[in-house]
Amino acid sequence: MAANFWTSSHYKQLLDPEEVDVVQPLDKDKGMTLEDFKLIKMNMANYIWKLAQNVKVRQRVVATAVTYMRRVYTRKSMSEYDPRLVAPTCLYLAAKAEESTVQARLLVFYIKKLYSDEKYRYEIKDILEMEMKILEALNYYLVVFHPYRSLSQLLQDAGINDTSMIQLSWGLVNDTYKMDLILIHPPHLIALACIYIASVYREKDITAWFEELRVDMNVVKNISMEILDFYESHRLITDERINIAFSKLALKP
């Protein structure tokens, strides 16, 4: 239930990577590749984060919003659900779900401020309509668990209190929302992977602590590899590359 991950809808809805990496037929027809699809989602995660900074909501709300957005695109095409409307609307809905409601007019104001491109122009009415469509697309499952809570508990449990380790692992967790990991893995495993990477990077040996955990370290290492691969392959992403992905979306089928 609501506070127990193992009985939650979040746990029951976890997907295999093959199920997440599916470009919807409508988008595929326009020539959108899996790479394009992932890039747009990443770009929209950034968009949500930027908006959130302006309207001043916490990281947790951002994380929930990004999760909603990613869940939507496991079921709906970008052709029908424009990412540039879905992203702010997910933030709008997540803010309500996380009890820090943000007014739609405030979002619209900051959207205009952030983007002059009229493809981003949406009005309050559009957000309100999309809110309902997103509720449906999410099948009304709104509770999302995040790695942050586990992360603090785990760091504490491992006796890690040096700031650089803590900051690095938090930053890594933030970056995991640029990927679809939250749809695939239980959040505490994502947190562990981030701690693992941080410990290797900072040359901090906490192997003994890991071994005591009743966790499948292979899974943790696989998640870590995915995160490292992501950093590796996304060092050189340019705005131009993102624009190419979006331009395919604009094509008439």
Binding site: E136, R149, L154
Partner: protein, 477 residues
Amino acid sequence: MGDGNATTNNRSVSNSNNNEKPEWLQQYNLIGKIGEGTYGLVFLAKTKSPANRGKSIAIKKFKQSKDGDGVSPTAIREIMLLREISHENVVKLVNVHINHADMSLYLAFDYAEHDLYEIIRHHRDKGSHCINQYTVKSLLWQLLNGLNYLHSNWIIHRDLKPSNILVMGEGDEHGVVKIADFGLARIYQAPLKPLSDNGVVVTIWYRAPELLLGAKHYTSAVDMWAVGCIFAELLTLKPLFQGAEAKSTPNPFQLDQLDKIFKVLGHPTLEKWPTLANLPHWQSDLQHIQGHKYENTGLHNVVHLSPKSAPYDLLSKMLEYDPRKRITAAQALEHEYFRIEPLPGRNALVPSQPGEKVINYPTRPVDTNTDFEGTTSLQPPQPVSSGNAVSGGMPGGHGVANRSASRPMQIGMPRMQPQVMATYNMAQAGMGGAMNPAGIPMPRGVAAQPHQQQHLRRKDPPGMGSGYPPQQKSRRQ
């Protein structure tokens, strides 16, 4: 939820004129309106599908919020929680629908014919007979059982009151208690803001003393206080602490309510409740609070129980001033009261003794002249089907409010805020609903308790966080 059938029919709806129901609504026969509140309306309907033909469903319709801010956060919170929880003693959300044409949202629940408000009222007005012991004990046990489930999942209900405790009418689940109305409920594990930041909670009569004294951080113990008040009300048929609500400011200091409590339980003391000193109103309003001196009337006199009896012992533990010492739902279920005859059962409404008369509680009034749009027809009102047609009245509970228009007045509580009152009058075409009598902004707080949810401790069985809910206790029959 819909599970496939929640598809909305944008096209069909927008093309249709107003007399036509959205396609998904056509799977139900609308019987009529059974309640309303600030959020919208509640309807009684029956399913048409062959599998469940005739099954009664309560449909709560949320209006688009007036401030132009989409789906109301209350609706979001209620859906969010109800989508995750499942327990025999918690109301079951069977479907959610969205009508894109008018941006309204519908929640469909299993329908419950009765609620504790109506059951208590029936005994008070009609029979003037007490509710029999077996029924009181079974209702209380099931209420605690549902609450234990919620609390072990870190959900505080925050608005428990008799009208939110539903009881199923005839059928498979006859006499089974269902906790309803989660519009104010919340998960308290990871609050983003102190509860006190966003308005209200809890009908004043059932409000725990720590809230009345301005506590900012509160816990599941507030629900247990409310259960204590409800327990006493089941025994005496009268609200235990009937304070008059002060409404001048958003978070007024409810002195009268506190006074009613002190009159029965005596003043709290720092010895018995050490953290009392930290509560805002205890410090700032000390003179008012201690203005009246009461002889401790004695709770046992009010509820007519021997101070040595098991029910009295349980009740007094629920009405413990210090929230940290107050009995929890899990502890209450283990109390001796539930181990002595008569033992609690699943059907709280069957007669306890063979040969005893079955009480026919009235069914919920249904306004058959109102359609799903909330439009009341101009035809002369037909007699409200008083019974069998609607053998599943809708609990006033599903909504905040529901229930007969006269209710708040009748109990002598002028408690509606002016603008709420306006809506209420306007909307009460049919049967009206008692506005959420608690609809007054109130402080809320949050349990600051740390706990682990996905935390993997070494000792845990693999794959289990320590937050795994305790086994539900098997029900005693």
